[in-house]
């Protein structure tokens, strides 16, 4: 047990010394890994923040039916009555065109409303469906669209749907990017380790001849790969934090201009831990593949 621990410490020391021997190339490798980590991590952060921003807007399960301009209020109310009796409709509200312009004014657009020569708004029906699923709303919307009084049906769920789809696309893209760059990380590590092994081929050969197991030979390199991956992950995290710091001010300024309180959120602790352990294990994996390959090459028996 003590010998085992001593060997692990020795392997760790060997790995650290290796960093010390080639500080510049190590630094560059760590930076490259950092960029590879920062790209998906940064995009992930962007997406979660976007998700958070979209969360503030509650999806409204409502359809808005704009009537044709030549339909008067009485006909409109009659239509509202008729639609209200449909099985899949929960509630219908008739909004008079005069009420519509009043709403505009109260929403702070009085200047615009006052500037209009006449009220351009049609009478409007706001319809709440009984079932709030997208398919049910779409079916209802399609039926309303073909009514002779109907000018246009607005499905309020549309943009939510689009946003959700976009978010999913974003998530898929990030996942793909993460996989590709994860492979790159393992490959970068494998390559640096391969160069190291070429420099240390003699040592490996001698250790082999005097009875070293593969595990013994592999261990320092695995430490090296893991630590390099970890350092790369940390540098990637730093890059993301720097980017966040640079963007943070302009984001909150933009949010303020829209009258919203919003600031970018950094990676949480659990996300950071996940990021670091992932990059460390990818580094380890790269080292493992590289050393195993070389050990097979050196083998003559």
């Amino acid at each position: 047990m003590r010998a085992w621990l001593a060997h692990h410490l020795h392997s760790l020391a060997t790995a650290m010394r290796q960093f010390g021997e080639t500080p510049l190339s190590t630094l560059f490798t760590i930076l490259v890994i950092g960029v590879a980590v920062a790209l998906p991590a940064g995009l992930y952060l962007l997406l979660t923040n976007l998700d958070r921003a979209a969360d503030g807007v509650k999806p409204q399960a409502e359809l808005t039916l704009f009537l044709k301009l030549d339909i008067d209020a009485t006909a409109g109310r009659a239509l509202a009555e008729r639609i209200g009796q449909e099985a899949d409709v929960a509630e219908v509200r008739f909004i008079d065109r005069a009420e519509g312009i009043a709403r505009l004014e109260s929403a702070g657009l009085a200047d615009i409303a006052a500037g209009l020569p006449e009220n351009p708004l049609p009478h409007t029906l706001v319809i709440k469906p009984r079932e709030e699923t997208v398919t049910a709303m779409e079916a209802l919307g399609a039926r309303l669209q073909v009514l002779p009084e109907s000018e246009r049906v607005l499905l309020d769920s549309d943009w939510i749907k689009r946003l959700t789809a976009l978010m999913q696309l974003g998530r898929d893209l990030i996942f793909m990017l993460a996989v590709i760059l994860g492979l790159a990380l393992a490959a970068i590590t494998a390559n640096t380790i391969r160069l190291q092994i070429y420099a240390k081929r003699d040592e490996i050969e001698v250790a082999r001849l005097i009875g070293a197991t593969d595990r013994f030979i592999r261990r320092p390199y695995l430490y090296f790969g893991g630590i390099q991956g970890l350092a790369g992950g940390l540098s990637g995290w730093l890059l993301v934090m720097i980017g966040l710091g640079l963007l943070g001010d302009s984001v909150s300024q933009t949010a303020t201009a829209y009258g919203v309180e919003f600031s970018l959120q950094a990676l949480g602790l659990s996300e950071l831990i996940a990021l670091l352990s992932l990059s460390a294990s990818l580094g380890w994996l790269g080292a493992f593949l590289s050393v195993t390959h070389t050990l097979r090459e050196v083998e003559t028996f």
């Binding site: 003590r2 060997h7 009875g211 197991t213 003559t300």
Partner: protein, 221 residues
């Protein structure tokens, strides 16, 4: 201790380094392998050390069949053999002490015990005062002695030496042979390949002469 039965070693390309060789070496023997270069001396040592597998025949060392040995068992097998190389195979990135420590370290031995063993081995080869030196600063004879210290530090019962005196002048060569003789006297089995006939005459022991991969003569000097 070592038993070769009908051993043939053919290298890729068809060169046959050993042909149907039979040889038995008992525990505690001092054996010289002689013959012209290319006679198969090095190949024979490599087969015994499980560095290469025989093409056919059996190589039995310490009761283990080398040709059938699993890869995972190799390291443990090799720990029982001290190997001395013509080109020393020292590690130049560490000092004399650490070079000798490596076999013990590989076997999981550390701390004060290991340090004592290393110094005892260095003492035997007369390098105790140079434990902090880098191998590159040592003379050829000293490097060979360092290689011997590394081979004996884990106290193997069998030591194989491939042309240990080839690049050394006579005084150094005698030095090294004296050491080998001392090891043999305490029961270590030694197999030494050499083409230096004087050496054999001077030290005695069994002389196994090879030519073109076959044993041509056997003598006790």
């Amino acid at each position: 201790m070592i038993e070769l039965t009908d051993v043939t070693k053919r290298y890729p390309g068809g060169h046959e380094a050993l042909s149907n060789l039979n040889l038995a070496i008992e525990q505690g023997e001092l054996v010289f392998l002689t013959g012209h270069s290319g006679a198969g001396k090095s190949t024979l040592l490599k087969l015994v050390a499980a560095i290469e597998r025989p093409t056919s025949g059996h190589v039995i060392v310490n009761g283990q069949n080398v040709g059938r040995m699993k890869r995972a068992a190799l390291p443990y097998f090799r720990r029982n053999i001290g190997l001395i190389f013509q080109d020393h195979k020292l590690l130049y990135d560490r000092n004399v002490f650490d070079n000798v420590l490596l076999p013990l370290h590989i076997q999981g031995m550390t701390g004060a015990d290991a340090g004592k063993r290393v110094r005892a081995a260095l003492d035997k080869v007369g390098l105790l005062k140079k434990e902090k030196a880098r191998p590159i600063t040592l003379s050829g004879g000293e490097q060979q002695r360092l290689c011997i210290a590394r081979a004996i530090v884990s106290r193997p019962a069998l030591v194989l030496a491939d042309e240990p005196t080839a690049n050394l002048d006579d005084a150094y060569a005698r030095d090294i042979m004296d050491m080998f003789q001392a090891f043999n006297e305490v029961g270590v089995t030694l197999v030494i390949s050499t083409h230096d006939q004087d050496l054999i005459r001077r030290y005695g022991g069994r002389d196994v002469r090879l030519a073109y991969g076959r044993q041509v003569s056997e003598a006790m000097a």
